[in-house]
């Protein structure tokens, strides 16, 4: 497959080259957006292995969809949206709740008193939330989606989205602040 020419590194050039199968351009686009895609997918997935599978699916969709990308939205927003859809439509795997619960209990003891540890604990607690609560909390509180959008994405109602958010926040509060998983 052809390689990107030197200097063809503007976003439009990368899109054009990647959409024709230029793997160097694809790699550059991946490097630019990999962390953002992984972050949203990992938080929605709640576990590493699932997140990696969903990320691969997301990137295949992104590269396949570049040909149809018309630039009406920012590329980063479009990639983000594709990643969210890939994660929400992703194939389910058996959730390993037990293992996650054990990991969270350990981190509660070990990392309560420093801010980096607290962030890790919060990430772990979000991962541990039941699927509906986790997705709603991630989409609403972290990604800034409105309840109307979330209800469309998850195929629920706005009131269900609100209810899931209330329960998710209450659970996190109990786990993080009160330390009672």
């Amino acid at each position: 497959m052809q390689a990107s020419e030197p200097g063809r590194d503007t976003e439009q050039d990368l899109i054009r080259a990647a959409s024709t199968g230029d793997t160097v351009a694809m790699a550059k686009l991946y490097d630019l957006h990999a962390d953002r895609v992984y972050t949203i997918v990992r938080r929605l997935a709640g576990e590493d292995a699932l997140a990696e599978d969903w990320c691969q699916d997301a990137w295949i969709r992104i590269f396949d969809g570049l040909r149809e990308f018309r630039g009406e939205a920012k590329l980063s927003s479009w990639i983000h949206r594709v990643a969210v859809n890939s994660a929400l439509n992703g194939r389910r795997r058996q959730l390993r709740f037990t293992r996650r619960e054990r990991a969270l209990s350990t981190s509660l003891v070990d990392t309560r008193h420093d801010s980096e540890g607290l962030r890790r604990l919060l990430e772990a607690a979000i991962s541990r939330l039941p699927e509906g609560m986790r997705k709603t909390l991630v989409l609403h509180d972290i990604e800034g989606y409105a309840h109307a959008e979330i209800s469309t994405l998850l195929g629920t109602t706005e009131s269900n989205s609100r209810s899931q958010l209330v329960r998710a926040r209450a659970k996190l509060r109990a786990w993080i602040i009160e330390g009672s998983p």
Binding site: D35, T39, L118, R119, L137, D141, R169
Partner: protein
């Protein structure tokens, strides 16, 4: 003003909503509810400020390998298309042969095909025309389909065509036997 403490559900939603005048009045005088709300406010701030995660290094190679393997598969598609085209061409030749067979056939008249614009599928399964001519053409198509299958043994489309033509050839043999009693090769 609300006398009772605000429910946890209401406190959680007050992160996003202004709340009613009664709720605001209650919060103004109730330290317990204010503290509870503050806990949620701090938690919400922590959630919003969570830093981006780093994609694992091995994910990059997995993604790019998967992209490249898809490209390789796509690049091999023309070869498969050529084989399918070859099989389709053979079917068309067969169809044309069946259509013109009555012109060259010797022996009792047989009704000509019902129209000149029939699909290959219709020609493949037709019982019209000279059974001997049909069998000869099916043999030719079968040779092409067999060769295509040897080149692409895993291709389900070619396998289906080969099996269909083989089945039709066997039916044609039976039909010929029923018509003439013995198979008469040209």
């Amino acid at each position: 003003m609300i006398e009772r403490h605000l429910s946890e559900d209401r406190l959680v939603l007050l992160l996003d909503e202004e709340g009613t005048a009664d709720e605001r009045a209650h919060l103004a005088v109730c330290e317990q509810c204010r503290n509870q709300l503050e806990v949620y406010v701090r938690l919400g701030r922590m959630i919003v400020q969570l830093p981006a995660l780093s994609a694992p290094a091995h994910l990059r190679s997995q993604v790019l390998e998967r992209v490249q393997s898809r490209q390789v598969r796509r690049a091999s598609l023309p070869k498969r298309s050529m084989i399918l085209l070859q099989a389709a061409a053979a079917l068309l030749i067969f169809a044309a042969g069946v259509a013109t067979a009555p012109l060259f056939r010797q022996g009792p008249d047989v009704a000509s095909p019902s129209g000149s614009v029939q699909s290959s599928e219709a020609w493949l399964t037709t019982t019209a025309g000279d059974p001997a001519a049909r069998l000869a053409l099916l043999d030719a198509v079968l040779l092409t389909a067999k060769a295509a299958r040897q080149r692409a043994p895993a291709d389900p489309g070619i396998r289906t065509i080969h099996e269909r033509v083989l089945a039709e050839q066997q039916r044609a043999v039976s039909a010929l036997l029923a018509t003439y009693g013995t198979v008469r090769w040209f």
